[in-house]
Symmetry: C2
């Protein structure tokens, strides 16, 4: 545990460097693309709803414990919204309110794991998946995605799956690639998992980590996994959709068609209890329910994506166009992505080498920044491309 | 995990019974003393501060991630307050903001535990201690307190401590007895633990779970463990002091004199990360810091205690006078506390048998209710005493 606490992540190291460098040359001269922190404010309704709740709700009720699963009215609102949007037939007693995406995942992993279990994630993936999986007592098996489009490589998956595989974690839109898994990919994955569940004689769960669901551009559809695969669990967070990552609010939805879904839901409740979660923050449970369906102004992210993707590819950088989230996943212009990031630093560009995401040779560029930061950074990216002799 | 989720606690069962019974005979005719939920509103400042923060703070900052340890300014305010009140010399980088008392405990237990470890708690204790300890991979050893005053029984402790003992958990004021461990008890415990640490050749930690610290009556002093024992960790929550248990806000304070305290603090950070806590809820971190030192109107609890303790002892019931918290811990009038609670139900009195607190033969009465509920319940308690032939 101490080494987990002491070993700062790469991203955190860059964050500290950025602070130090800003004090030397001014924050406006640093182009920090390292942190995935929403840069647009929460929708106006969030703060309005907070004040209305505070003014009009009995204090003991508003700030008191909710049931461990979450306030019943909150769960009904969210359940109705899911059913309406995705054509599912969930009931509120399959929704479990959580303290955000990380809690959704750790609770789900702890609910499912027995010793010896393996979970599969497709690279690139959020590095904390490994921390959460190992802390739950399971191991994480990394399976490379198809490099050309970051959809699932089923040959690689076939080679990696074993009788110990308890579940598959997907993340769409993906951090760090921004790629959305297509409906045909999810359908093929569902077929594959049904076959393997039957072959191994036990359920293999599909865990869908969806904090970026609402952040998609060009009307791309993000398939709802429950409509493809029964033994699925959705881990959701309002952090990115409503721009309130610090408030820690999200939920777990257990598919009503999952085998023995009541028992599965009970395991989720038990894991939440064992990890000390008690209940999700009560005021923000209500805020999330009232603001369900709204988003922060994500048009900024689309503008940033279009600007940055257009410019970088025109300079000769190579990357898949992201459908969503707020990351661009770029092939480093040399084989060592860390060396590439060091060279980028000369131009005050702070990028994250993607080794910890399971993809050596790539870098992540978080474009959840002010658009003017990108505009000013383009000249630096151009010089970096020229230094490597890239051709637009 | 499913059995943890499915097995409702005794308290939860009574809660459900109360709802059902209330629909039959009216809520005003039920005397529900089962739940430890603060019954007084948060101090007026809490809602005022929420609105001021929302109106005057940049949304991205207010609702954004703080550092994993908690906002630096928040930690400084809390650290200064601890140092001022208790004469300690902590630094803000030994404070770790948490999502309440349960999170403080689970994070601390996960930070310390290696396989084979044991933690000792003194009966009566909050039943979730066992759940949290076992989920962290350790085992819980229950040691009976002295029945006459619920201070520590050092002979019993001597008999229970082993070379596998990693730590001792204390809870003062205590849930469910309301008893405060006296300065001489803490001093003797510190001496004892120094001796045993030396004997076994490894540190034994003192974990002080203090959600009820501010809820004490008659100017009773609650000793600050760091002033008695170096290898100590304080687990705090604002739930009861500020009457906001649903908002999940508290902290862990690591003693600056603990052996290798930086490493210990890093383990706390690592455990918080592994359990998926990311950061404590950001708005309420700031609310807690601004309202640090305030409390809800706890005079209600004192009035309730005096009324209930006075009446029950005058009817012949036997209990230790609680110094704090909002519980009365009463010896059942027959050896089977569950049977006693069933008999109390005839008079619509809902009490909690204390077997799950490690004290068969006792019941817990949570007096965090309206004073008029107690006033109306007294006749029922009197009849119950008469049924058992108790003498005042």
């Amino acid at each position: 545990m101490a080494s987990l606490g002491e070993k700062r992540s790469v991203i955190r190291d860059i964050f500290e460097y950025a602070k130090q460098r800003a004090s030397q040359i001014g924050a406006e001269n640093i182009f920090d693309f390292s942190i995935g922190n929403p840069s647009v404010p929460a929708p106006e309704s969030v703060n309005r709803v907070i004040k209305e709740l505070v003014d009009n709700t009995d204090s003991v009720t508003l700030h008191g414990y909710t049931s461990a699963q979450g306030d019943a009215g909150v769960r009904k609102t969210i359940c109705d919204s899911i059913n309406k949007r995705f054509g599912t037939s969930l009931t509120p007693d399959l929704i479990y309110m959580t303290a955000g995406a990380a809690a959704s995942l750790t609770i789900t992993l702890n609910a499912l794991t027995v010793p010896g279990d393996e979970f599969i994630a497709f690279t690139p993936f959020f590095p904390e998946y490994r921390v959460f999986t190992e802390a739950a007592g399971a191991s994480l098996v990394a399976v490379p995605s198809r490099e050309k489009d970051f959809q699932i490589d089923f040959d690689a998956l076939e080679a990696a799956i074993t009788k110990n595989t308890k579940g598959i974690i997907i993340n769409s839109p993906n951090n760090p690639s921004g790629v959305v898994l297509r409906a045909e990919t999810i359908a093929a994955l569902a077929d594959f998992l049904r076959g393997k569940s039957s072959q191994f004689g036990h359920v293999i769960y599909l865990i869908s980590d969806e904090p970026y669901r609402e952040l998609v551009y060009d009307y791309i559809e993000v398939p709802y996994v429950m409509n493809y695969y029964d033994n699925s669990i959705v881990c959701y967070s309002y952090s990115k959709a409503l721009s309130l990552p610090g408030e820690r609010i999200g939920y777990i939805a257990v598919c009503d068609k999952a085998e023995n879904c009541r028992h599965l839901y009970a395991a989720v409740c038990g894991a939440g209890r064992a990890l000390g979660y008690v209940c999700a923050p009560s005021l923000f449970q209500r805020v999330a329910a009232i603001c369900e369906g709204e988003t922060a102004d994500i048009s900024v992210y689309k503008r940033n994506r279009d600007l940055l993707y257009g410019a970088l590819t025109s300079y000769g950088f190579c990357c898949v166009k992201p459908d969503g989230a707020f990351y661009l996943f770029v092939k480093a212009a040399e084989s060592d992505a860390s060396a590439f990031c060091e060279r980028a630093k000369k131009y005050e560009l702070l990028l994250v080498p993607a080794e910890s995401f399971g993809c050596p040779g790539f870098v992540r560029i978080a474009y959840c920044v002010k658009t003017e930061t990108i505009e000013r950074a383009l000249a630096a990216f151009k010089k970096l491309a020229q230094e490597y002799g890239l051709q637009g």
